[in-house]
Symmetry: C2
Subunit: 386 residues, 2 copies
């Protein structure tokens, strides 16, 4: 039995976290506002705010507007008290960025890669991290951590168990990067990272139960339930791409048959295209010129995506389904068929009120997601330590 005992330190830690979270979400805000919002006593808020001020995570600014009495001292989140590094390892690129503690991008680097071997990729990653740290502005806490999104199955220890498109298996990526930079490192599946990014900074900010569908070369999903990323027993939930939507259907690279991603991914699209050298971009270009064949192709993929989304809605009863990753560029032709498929298939009660949206952060979802994760850990641990 994993038991947690409760004592005054826990109380203080949680209240402090609550106060800081309130400042982050509502800044600029006065002590009096915080007391009103949280229900904590004015004196308690005052004391906690002073603690956080000493930690440099917030700062005071000149007095705000009076509402008939003494003017309030406004509190702001010190979003440049430190910086987070977010990295998205794709199949043919590495995207890295430096963000402040609110997820604003300060520096962004994107490097195409051809050699996906582990050593080659980590060389690129390491070099990028080094240069980001060099270019980073001075701050109280410096780099607070490194987050990395990977297109594959990652366990809770940060080991990449299997990344078919990179040809990786059983790679202790977290340990490797941690040893080099002596900073907290966090590895996440690309879809989970994207889900978290959209939840914190993109389309999902006002929802608690979200399924993020990463529709790229394959299909993955990030599952956010009750506002938190659900990871499954071992951390590898969300392989929705390998849900069977056609029993005894087409062979899938995973060894199974009829998997969703065989019908609804970028790979599926390219395989169905009549042109030998079709790419997602070339098909989009054709569709933009009203090429009926290309449009029909996208619509077919849209229906297949819709089938899978139907399954998601019936299974999870989420508030929101977000479609992300590469296929978002074809939103224009996909959205209609997806919606129509849902309308004709999904249970009416489940359909009602569910939001279907496309990614708001486009190619940045995953990198911003891991970066936001890093920030969250930093803030939680910072507060814990005291």
């Amino acid at each position: 039995m994993q038991t947690i005992t409760w004592n005054q330190q826990v109380v203080k830690r949680n209240n402090k976290s609550l106060v800081l979270q309130t400042i982050i979400e509502k800044e600029p805000v006065s002590r009096a506002d915080i007391a009103q919002i949280t229900g904590l006593n004015k004196a308690t808020v005052s004391s906690l705010v002073n603690d956080i001020l000493e930690e440099n995570l917030i700062f005071e600014s000149g007095p705000g507007e009076s509402s008939g009495g003494r003017r309030p001292v406004l509190l702001h989140f010190n979003k440049t008290a430190g910086y987070a590094i977010g990295i998205d390892i794709g199949v043919n690129y590495v995207l890295s960025m430096l963000t402040d503690l609110k997820g604003n991008i300060l520096i962004e680097k994107n490097q195409p890669i051809k050699n996906v071997a582990f050593d080659a990729v980590t060389d690129v990653v390491s070099e990028m991290i080094r240069s980001l740290i060099l270019e980073m502005p001075k701050s109280s806490y410096g780099a607070v951590g490194i987050g990395i999104g990977v297109p594959g199955i990652v366990d809770k220890q940060g080991t990449v168990l299997f990344a078919p498109n990179l040809n990786w298996s059983n790679i202790s990526l977290k340990q490797h990067i941690e040893e080099e930079f002596k900073l907290p490192v966090l590895i996440e599946n690309e879809a989970n990272a994207g889900a978290y990014g959209e939840k914190q900074l993109g389309a999902g900010q006002s929802f608690q139960d979200i399924i993020y569908v990463s529709a790229g070369i394959g299909i993955g999903a990030g599952i956010i339930l009750n506002g938190e990323l659900y990871q499954g027993k071992n951390g590898y939930s969300g392989e929705l791409g390998h849900v069977i939507i056609q029993a005894n259907g087409k062979k899938c690279s995973c060894g199974s048959q009829g998997c969703w991603e065989v019908y609804a991914s970028e790979n599926a699209l390219l395989e169905m295209a009549p042109q030998q050298d079709a790419t997602l971009e070339s098909l989009v270009a054709l569709a933009e010129q009203n090429d009926p064949e290309a449009i029909a192709l996208f619509e077919k993929i849209g229906v297949s995506i819709g089938i899978g989304v139907n399954n998601i809605i019936n299974a999870f009863n989420p508030e929101q389904v977000i479609i992300g990753n590469r296929l978002v560029v074809a939103k224009q032709w996909l959205e209609g068929p997806i919606l129509e498929t849902i309308q004709t298939h999904t249970l009416p009660f489940h359909q009602k009120e569910v939001q279907l949206q496309f990614s708001q952060l486009s190619v940045y979802s995953a990198a911003l997601g891991v970066s936001a994760f890093v920030v969250e850990n930093f803030i939680r641990d910072g507060i814990t330590v005291l």
Copy 2:
């Protein structure tokens, strides 16, 4: 923002709950043991135990064995401090039971019903509750609540939105029963109730992430994540029976096509049977006499169940999948095909370590589940009130 502030009362409530939970799980147990297990100070435990003693939820028994010093006073959970009523409304029966606070069945009543109209069913339910309360032994708290499992979609307010097999829609069942008996009432979907029953009292006791598949006339599922029932935004998650496993497949009563339950439920079985008047029981009887046709039929259903279970494992990465409800009687012929389907389809990493089991509580899963739910609420609220 729904904020929770932390103070000493919260600390005490949680620690008290922790102590009581420890006693329930480990009884008989001494104060010293509890201090050791929970990490709380001996003095704190003593004080909390005395509080709980006053509430009559536990009692002391004669001293236990010495381990080289003073003999401990053993503490026991007072499982007869009150009783819970659990009811399972089926399509052609109402099963009701009185349980003690540990989920032991004291009285059990089962009544077949023909008329599924709301009024007729609630008359039966009310009559059963009345007689259970009359037969209930004397106790400190009496009947602590009523739980009802229903084969349909239930929202978080206890309204039965839609129960196709009962022909019910939009029925405020909770309100109705609450008004009659002035007791806390709780309504749950039958699959959710079954999942909770197996988790607390049956096959799932040592697991945290469990999917319970209720394979009966239709298919439903209860989803337990991180040890808690996941209900979705509106409380109607788990309609896994309407996940599409065959795009453009057979028509389903829900209006969609190719739903899992069209291929893997009791209804699917009976539809495929050559006999006009086949029932699940008659087919089991045939299979027991080694009738090859009947056995082949079950095996076919088994493969279809396996497809859906594959989808569950890939999507949720659970620790355990439990198959429950009526089809469990055919376990002997279903288990092989299900396992084989998983082995040939499910992602290897996800397959590893996942447990496939059949219900341990047989027909009692749902009724025991709601009853356990009632007990949990009683204990939590009792402790809250002080």
